[in-house]
Symmetry: C2
Subunit: 256 residues, 2 copies
């Protein structure tokens, strides 16, 4: 038995999320079915992050155990062949030790959130960005974001369904960049932490959007954080702008 780490890209639109749920298409199910076309008795797989319905990934990581020794390029090719025509692709594969666990070995996760501000509905990126139809100011969002960086009790910014043992997390990065978008502006939120709480990114981005729109002052975000009260959170934004953008391991199993 050899364990392999797989780096996976997907469009979350047609899926109920990463995790298997009976009667609904999930990314995990799609990948497990592809793996079992290679080895019918292969065990189930685990992933670094359980993305929600409609959430995308550019670099999810999962591990799987295979009886046959596979050359990595061939394994990637074979899985992609069986994944067709679903919008899921294995973009890298690497052998790892038996103690590697995609979730528990992860030292950090990165998320990207794409928010487009423009009046006319987006067409090419429908389902891949969150669109608001009003202008947003970058500097107040950046000022508000600075309150959230570091070690905090993020109770305000986690789902009441969150099963994490503690709401105390360290947010290592929360950068926002503005870039031109046809007939509008795209705001890219880059977040990094060892781990995230359920709905943490969407709670943060939804709240910062209110700041960008002028409905909240930047300091209100600090007040909301300090309240450590879910009711103090701004609106949770929709999932379609969210991308699991990377998972860090030491050493990096995909390093060439």
């Amino acid at each position: 038995m050899t364990r392999y780490a797989l780096k996976i890209e997907y469009d979350g639109t047609p899926f109920c999320g990463w995790q298997r749920q009976s009667g609904q298409p999930s990314v995990q199910q799609a990948l497990e079915e592809a793996i079992r076309r290679l080895e019918p008795d292969a065990p189930g797989i685990g992933a670094a992050g359980r993305t929600d319905t409609g959430v995308h990934a550019t670099a999810q990581v999962a591990h799987c155990d295979l009886a046959k020794p596979w050359e990595c390029f061939r394994l990637m090719e074979a899985l992609n062949y069986h994944l067709k025509p679903l919008p899921v692709a294995v973009v890298a594969a690497a052998p790892v030790g038996a103690d590697f666990h995609a979730r528990f070995s992860a030292k950090g996760r990165r998320y990207l959130f794409r928010l487009v501000a423009r009046r006319a509905p987006v067409t090419h990126d429908a389902g891949r960005v969150w669109q608001v139809r009003h202008d947003l100011a970058l500097a107040p969002m950046q000022a508000a974001a600075r309150h959230l960086i570091g070690l905090h009790d993020f109770t305000t910014f986690r789902s009441t369904m969150c099963q994490a043992a503690s709401p105390v997390k360290t947010l290592d990065r929360l950068d926002i960049e503005a870039r031109p978008y046809p007939h509008g502006t795209e705001f890219r939120f880059h977040l990094a932490a060892r781990s995230f709480l359920h709905n943490q990114v969407r709670s943060i981005v939804g709240t910062l959007e209110r700041v960008g729109a002028g409905a909240w002052a930047p300091d209100q975000v600090r007040d909301a954080l300090e309240a450590a009260d879910r009711a103090a959170c701004g609106p949770v934004c929709p999932p379609q702008g969210l991308y699991l953008d990377g998972v860090t391991y030491e050493p990096d199993p995909f390093a060439v």
Copy 2:
């Protein structure tokens, strides 16, 4: 009666192209139906370029005649309201003279073609790029492209169905840029001309891809052009990487 120019963005995936065809969804039909929600007796509309099935637009231009005087922002908003949930959006509207014709007044058209070279299937951009699974070399494609710029008989690079009076056209621009794409490279082809022949862009890009792959030498593209023979063309590439990217008028009706 006032004539309006409309700048239109669309994802061509669900459409049989711009032009109305009985029993099939077209962008023209979608837009005419939205216009007739405003004015039931509005006449049909004309566009600058008749994009084919699956071809996209970032800036198609059409004109329409309306009895009621419309403030442009309100006209855009009303049309976008009625276009929902189709991936078609009016991104600008402007009143023009009665002699303005989206097709016949156009002084130039610009097309963008997005070609992604990577091994793993693309997921987020499926339907919006042409993917090849091998590497491509930029410099030979650029060398071959130089043979096509300027005034030529483009018989080799036009569909046998093309109804243009003459195959002689001036290609003003054919630039190719390479940019990073996750786990691959994206090649963007930028083309501009007063007008294009049917399938001209896809015939050119399909042939240049053969050069990038090393199957054709750059000079073979010059030979193919000089043959003025459709049989000398390389493979016509698929439509999903093609975008009508702009139409030029003098003066620009959308200039603020």
